[in-house]
Subunit: 248 residues, 2 copies
DNA sequence: TTCCCGAATTCACATAGGTTAAATCGGGCG
DNA sequence: CGCCCGATTTAACCTATGTGAATTCGGGAA
């Protein structure tokens, strides 16, 4: 829309924008990447996008909506290991030809783009930068997982929630999905937040209210607003460096 | 020793064994991989193997010893994100041409092998299976991180410690490093265990003693012994599937 | 042998966060 | 308009784990 690159599929630009943000791609590589992506049918909230253990034949990219990656503990508790935002790849199993090691579920109505793994492999031969881009995305994803690990291992409830809100805010901003000043859509339940942060629903609620009182975050009607991002970042120890790719 | 493959460097077999365990490699590929590895000088306990943020020019493989990957929280607390055993790669940053996102420190006197990244890249052109093997290793590593995330998010102290001991036992076994029946070396301090599991030193101690009383684990003089592995696995919800590569 | 030091252990006490259950809110639907 | 149901909120109570500090243990150095 803002450029005249041929985008054969609506929504393909989300995928291109993501790849280009981590590796600078030639026009030809971009066109090749755009051509092999196709859109799937809309997926309602709570439906699976990928089932744990499934050997996927296509690379799935979230085009719009909101999803999460998760695993189950033997006890039955579900641990959300990552939130998937538009532009994110749903699973990186294909990089090592492994089946998905975790499930991916839509948290709000979503649209997913699919790139056939074999077709991707064949254009990668001509445009190896595309593989580099995917590997960079995988590395960032890995960093985010580790940052969550840091939260669970060493931050208290207030910091955990604050840190996650900072991260989502930053990523939504990067994706161009901020509503106006500082607000963004968070179509997630407080209980689901708890499943990511290792906190009970009740305590997530207490914590969110404390953030409200501190004037650091508002969350109403599935919309989060951060009146004072630097303040929240300071409280929670958020530093977005881990979400950026080193374009060195 | 048990085969007549030329191993140009002592210790190179640890590296080869690891690669071969995730992807079956041709004799030629094995020889090529062995040739480009060189051994570094011994590293004393508590020394850095990799410094956070450093752009490594070589792939580092732990040949012998024991190490950990870690990050610091702004508060100063250190979070260990993974234990590195002989045969493991110390850092996967080179896969995405990124600098190391975490530090790696020897926990006991260690020897590290180095493979120049550029030389590796050049032989990968001839033996792409080598890259596949490295990516598989990265995927397993990623799985282990997520399993730790599950521990911190949803397991209590007893299960966390038990699960970690099960994992180390399994990995030491795979590396052929079990002493006799079920015992293995764990040259780590209780406080360091706590840094990995998000527990205080005191509580790690309490927990280890409980495991002793339950007859599920003994840990004395840096040697861990598991009298009843299935029992401990059941208690802690350990399933080694996440450590295996799907050779499909 | 004795000293010394880091690691393991023990103890007393404090608290963040879990649990259970009930109350309220808000929107979709008949 | 009134009902229903999931999500949020509140409340009372409970416990797993943290904290701080002292004690013991075990092995290396003098």
């Amino acid at each position: 829309m803002n450029s005249n690159v041929a985008v054969s599929v609506p929504g393909g630009d989300v995928w291109l924008r993501r790849l280009s943000s981590v590796v600078s791609l030639s026009r030809a590589a971009q066109e090749a990447a755009a051509e092999i992506m196709s859109l799937g049918r809309p997926i309602p909230a709570r439906d699976h996008i990928i089932r744990d253990g499934n050997r996927e034949t296509s690379i799935k990219v979230l085009i719009s909506g909101f999803a999460c990656r998760y695993k189950f503990l033997p006890a039955g508790r579900r641990q959300i290991t990552a939130f998937v935002l538009p532009g994110d790849l749903c699973d990186f199993g294909f990089v090592s030809s492994s089946p998905a090691s975790q499930g991916v579920m839509a948290l709000s109505p979503s649209i997913v783009g699919a790139v056939d793994v074999d077709r991707f492999a064949s254009i990668v031969e001509e445009y190896p930068d595309l593989m580099a881009a995917v590997l960079r995305c995988a590395a960032i994803e890995q960093n985010a997982t580790q940052e969550l690990l840091l939260s669970l291992g060493g931050r208290n409830a207030l910091q955990r929630v604050g840190h996650l809100l900072c991260e989502l805010h930053f990523r939504m901003q990067s994706a161009g999905l901020l509503r106006d000043g500082q607000a963004f859509d968070l179509p997630v339940t407080q209980s689901e937040l708890g499943e990511a942060l290792g906190l009970s629903t009740v305590h997530v609620n207490r914590t969110v209210q404390t953030l409200r009182k501190l004037g650091l975050a508002t969350w109403r009607d599935r919309v989060v607003s951060l009146p004072n991002p630097p303040g929240l970042a300071a409280l929670s120890g958020f530093d977005p460096a881990y979400l950026k790719s080193e374009m060195a």
